[in-house]
């Protein structure tokens, strides 16, 4: 077993990394929620919060004032950093004899993601696989220059179902360091050589066996407390029920607003659009997040392929939970529960999967 360390205050590590010039991105307090953003001051790390999550409902509320990480996943993961909502692909300038295209270059500084939950670690790995297969190097380039400090969950929200997706609540995907909140501080585990380097210069005491055990028990308790579990054979089942009347029933409640796809940490679909200047001398091509819930998404010559909401919901759920396996070798769902919490209509992916799995 790898050696584990004990740390009393996570701000000490943040101070080290900030003064060494790293850009640190961590969940910070914004819009009545915790949202990953650039941390400039270690004291800005939120403390003493927990969350209440239910279908269509999120509340960040005061919790144990000593604890750092009781509030689990917020309205967005790390997707908007690694796979930005809008990205310029290239620009072009008209010249005397034609036009010149300049690919967009990006400055991605050495970055630390601090506080990545296990479900989101899995999501990062899955998106990396999507973009690797697509041959888009941008995601890989950003990820390669990013160190990941995971935080194992000692508490689950009501909407969490990572245990049934085998992605958490303890870290199972690649990371550099993993923290687990225990009595009086944090257990620190090293996940990579880079992780070892990140602790250089700070002599942390080795954790006691009791501390290691306490961390394991807390993670286990977080797993067993999850009230939701994805039906085990959902991938196969969804292939059998394309005409189930339940799709129409979901559609009667679905706003097709695309919130679920935007908050999903693995949804990756994009659209491209061209922008031209009024004088006709310059043009830009931009990529931006799109969603299988928008009508334009499946627009081919003559009209959209999926005009009904039922067809769009079925596309989303079937791709996420079933055909993703064939396409990318895993489920597209990591059990973070964001699509449940952040659906304004409170549609519960796990409950809908359960309804469709009935009669199996």
């Amino acid at each position: 077993m790898a050696e584990s360390y004990f740390l009393t205050d996570p701000r000490r590590l943040l101070e080290d990394w900030l003064s060494a010039g790293w850009r640190v991105i961590a969940p910070l307090l914004r819009d009545d929620a915790l949202v990953p953003d650039i941390l400039h001051d270690p004291d800005a790390l939120p403390r003493g919060y927990t969350d209440q999550q239910a279908p269509g409902r999120y509340r960040l509320v005061p919790g144990d004032s000593e604890r750092w990480f009781d509030a689990v996943v917020g309205p967005q993961g790390w997707k908007r950093w690694l796979h930005p909502p809008e990205r310029k692909l290239w620009s072009a300038r008209r010249g005397e004899t034609g036009f010149e295209v300049t690919p967009d270059t990006e400055d991605w500084p050495a970055t630390i993601f601090f506080g990545v939950r296990p479900c989101d670690l899995a999501a990062i790995a899955r998106q990396a696989e999507v973009f690797r297969r697509a041959g888009d190097p941008a995601y890989t380039t950003r990820l390669a220059a990013t160190r990941i400090v995971a935080v194992n969950c000692g508490r689950s929200a009501e909407t969490c179902f990572c245990a049934s997706m085998q992605t958490g609540p303890g870290a199972r995907s690649a990371h550099d360091l993993a923290l687990t909140e225990i009595e009086g501080g944090l257990l620190v585990e090293i996940g990579s050589k880079d992780g070892t380097a990140m602790l250089e210069g700070r002599a942390l005491p080795t954790a006691t066996p009791a501390q290691v055990q306490q961390a394991a028990l807390r993670i286990e308790a977080a797993a067993t407390s999850q009230p939701r579990a994805m039906p085990a054979k959902i991938a196969k089942r969804l292939q059998e029920v394309p005409d189930d009347p339940h799709w129409e029933e979901i559609a009667s409640r679905c706003l097709h607003c695309a919130n679920c796809t935007a908050v999903c940490p693995t949804c990756f679909c994009t659209d491209v659009t061209d922008r031209t200047s009024l004088d006709g001398k310059t043009a830009e091509r931009w990529q931006r997040w799109d969603s299988c819930f928008s009508l334009d998404f499946s627009f081919l010559n003559g009209g959209p392929v999926r005009s009904s909401t039922a067809a769009r919901y079925r596309q989303w759920m079937t791709h996420k939970l079933s055909s993703w396996h064939e396409q990318f070798g895993s489920s597209g769902c990591t059990g973070c529960g964001r699509c449940i919490t952040w659906c304004p209509a409170g549609i519960d992916l796990v409950a809908e999967a359960g309804a469709l799995a009935k009669g199996e």
Partner: protein
């Protein structure tokens, strides 16, 4: 393409959408460099006759004279583009569509007999063929610029067909309805404003009108669960786009 001849027309409206065009401060010189303004009374008293390559029409039809005038404009325009909630959905003045006109005129005006208006405020598309609609109250100046730039380049303009939620998520704004129970029309409203209200913690007022296939019935159930009574729900839909079918029908269900 030669410089296209542009006209801007006003019907029943507050002039705010025309002002959005004049508000393109940094781009104004580029605009007048790229197009020829042939008729735009808010900008210039010089008036040229048609035909016009693009007519931007602001305002709704509320008088018999305007119902005639819009046909003449249509006949003189290659492209007719409506701008704003009045022109595309009847505007705030369409609030009177569900009431008896005589009662309202009596209640509002000191000399009611001077008022000669149609029973209903209707969008331009109820009278003539419209080639494109720019939504909003007021219209987005970015969309105005995009429409002109696209027309000049001969490409399809990039106008949002998605819900306001998509715009909030792209901007990184956490959902105000989920995170603090603020009633919001975002899920049934077309994107385009730049998520002005949710980004400061307010719910969406639906300024850009209903998104395609808006499921207002499902949203109203959530508004009800947030504690809004029927009157409050109806009032939310009866706003700048009260004349748009999806909103007017849903408001009527809660009367």
């Amino acid at each position: 393409m030669d410089k296209p001849r542009i006209a801007v027309w006003k019907f029943a409206s507050c002039d705010g959408c025309q002002l959005s065009l004049l508000d393109c401060e940094e781009e104004l010189l580029d605009i007048v460099g790229a197009v020829h303004i042939a008729h735009f009374l808010e900008a210039s008293s010089r008036v040229e006759t048609g035909p016009y390559d693009i007519s931007f029409v602001e305002g709704s039809i509320t008088t018999a004279a305007d119902a005639e005038r819009i046909h003449a404009i249509r006949a003189a325009s290659k492209l007719l583009v409506t701008i704003g909630a009045c022109a595309t959905a009847g505007g705030i003045q369409a609030l009177r569509n569900t009431r008896a006109l005589g009662d309202l005129v009596q209640a509002v005006y000191p000399v009611p007999e001077l008022i000669e208006v149609l029973d209903r405020s209707t969008p331009i598309a109820a009278h003539v063929t419209v080639d494109a609609e720019l939504r909003g109250c007021p219209v987005s100046r970015q969309q105005l610029l995009e429409f002109v730039a696209a027309a000049l380049a001969g490409r399809k303009p990039d106008l949002p067909e998605v819900s306001q939620c998509v715009e909030c998520k792209r901007a990184g704004t956490a959902c105000v309805m989920v995170a603090n129970g603020t009633p919001c029309l975002g899920p049934v409203t077309r994107a385009g404003c730049g998520n002005l209200c949710p980004r400061v913690g307010r719910g969406c007022y639906g300024c850009f009108g209903p998104v395609e296939g808006a499921n207002c019935v499902a949203l109203s159930e959530q508004l009800d669960a947030l504690g809004l009574n029927g009157h409050a729900i109806a009032a939310l839909y009866r706003n700048f786009n009260s004349g748009a079918a999806a909103f007017s029908e849903e408001a009527a269900r809660h009367d």
